[in-house]
């Protein structure tokens, strides 16, 4: 029976004792760790993940080469005809995602280096103070935060302030709703980037500005993006994207509210923003935009 076979296969997928031990330790540590350490970890994780994204030759090269994830597979049950699928990676660190949950929607941390000096000019309304009680309508997994809506954004983007002694840690959280983002126009509106970009730079793999100022080209870039289609839900188009792309440039745009967004622009006429892949319709995109930036 299929059910029996599926269960039998599943039984072979299990955590090693070593990974289980690390997991248990991490869970316990997360409970007992003081708030400042937790905030630091959150910040470090964000920087590390940004670094990982930025440090790739191409953010998709590893995926194309299939060598980004080295998996140490240990076969422990040699007595069985089908060996045990036990995944163990002694070097893998189980990281902690910081997130909010508000009105049943989950929010991911997208930025934690917002300048606190002008916070009053960018926040809109206070939603409340988050609780670490999972039953709360406004839940945060690491610490209590004052949570606000932001001027110019709907409630899918929230700002959170965590007070620690004399420090304020300001973070931006985002809820990803794939139903909202069908076209480039949708992402432009969602990120509110049409009229408030104050800086735009190419960045290198360390996130440092390189090359020319991109700001003069932003209106052309956004015009191309405006008419582009988000193809992330179309498996065939995503496959085509992976098989087509050769090189890309990364630009950081800074908005007047302090939010920074990253756009990867591909020679072959794609933009990768916030996990969405946009296919550009302009056939001359490479000459018109890509070669100029």
């Amino acid at each position: 029976m299929f059910s029996d076979k599926y269960k039998k296969d599943n039984e072979k997928i299990k955590l090693s004792d070593n990974t289980k031990y690390k997991l248990l330790n991490n869970v316990k540590v997360s409970k007992s760790m003081n708030k400042k350490t937790i905030i630091s970890i959150g910040a470090t994780l964000l920087i590390v993940s940004s670094g990982l994204i930025l440090s790739n030759k191409s953010i998709f090269d590893d995926l194309k080469n299939n060598d980004s994830i080295s998996t140490n597979i240990t076969n422990t049950d040699t007595s069985d005809a089908l060996e045990s699928l036990e995944f163990d990676d002694k070097n893998a660190s189980v990281s902690m995602q910081e997130f909010l949950s508000y009105n049943g929607k989950d929010y991911s941390l997208i930025q934690n280096n917002i300048n606190s000096a002008n916070i009053n000019s960018i926040i809109d309304k206070k939603i409340g103070t988050s609780s670490t009680d999972e039953n709360s309508n406004l839940f945060s997994n690491l610490n209590n935060k004052d949570v606000y809506t932001l001027k110019g954004y709907n409630k899918n983007i929230l700002l959170a302030v965590t007070n620690y002694e004399n420090e304020k840690v300001i973070e931006i959280f985002q809820h990803y709703d794939d139903n909202l983002i069908k076209t480039g126009k949708d992402i432009i509106e969602f990120m509110n980037i049409s009229n408030n970009i104050i800086k735009a730079n190419s960045i290198n793999e360390n996130g440092e500005p390189v090359g020319q100022d991109i700001l003069p080209f932003m209106s052309d870039i956004l015009a191309c993006l405006h008419d582009a289609k988000n193809i992330i839900e179309d498996t065939n188009l995503v496959d085509k994207f992976f098989s087509t792309i050769s090189e890309f440039k990364t630009i950081n745009i800074e908005l007047d509210n302090g939010i920074i967004r990253t756009i990867h622009i591909y020679r072959e006429g794609y933009m990768f923003i916030d996990g969405y892949i946009f296919s550009i319709t302009d056939q001359n995109f490479d000459k018109k935009i890509y070669d100029k930036i």
Partner: protein, 164 residues
Amino acid sequence: MIYVREIQISIEEIIDRYGDNIYRLAFSRTKNIYDAQDIMQDVFVKLINSNKHFETFDYLKAWLLRITINLTKNLFNTAWFKKTAELDENLATYIEEQSEVYKYVLNLSKKYRTVIHLFYYEDLKTTEIADLLKTKEGTIRSQLTRARNLLKENMKEVEFDVFG
């Protein structure tokens, strides 16, 4: 503190009881062992912070499965996940060689993988799956039917004794 029927349960015991279930569900949805481990950790961090009282172990398990699904949904929307969403080549080869039917399930899309996993591994009823995934039972039934048909097509080359 987590309580089931007013009895305090240690996180160790819960991980022993349900750790593999959570890991398998997370893996079937993410197809990535690292993401599955991260999700699993986040599930238990949520649990330990929740101070919940569960009436039965079944409620506890259902809660863990629901949180796993919610966290993987959240993960699917991140750029990082979309970068690493493909199955690792070594792992893919291993599963191809060592599993009888799992490899076919992993080739299904996420929504079909999930309903197949919850139905055939967790033995949940379609009403329970609908509750977990916050959708209508009719939708789950049609997804199961479609998933079964896809599996039948893909498993033509193996001796296939239909679904139990």
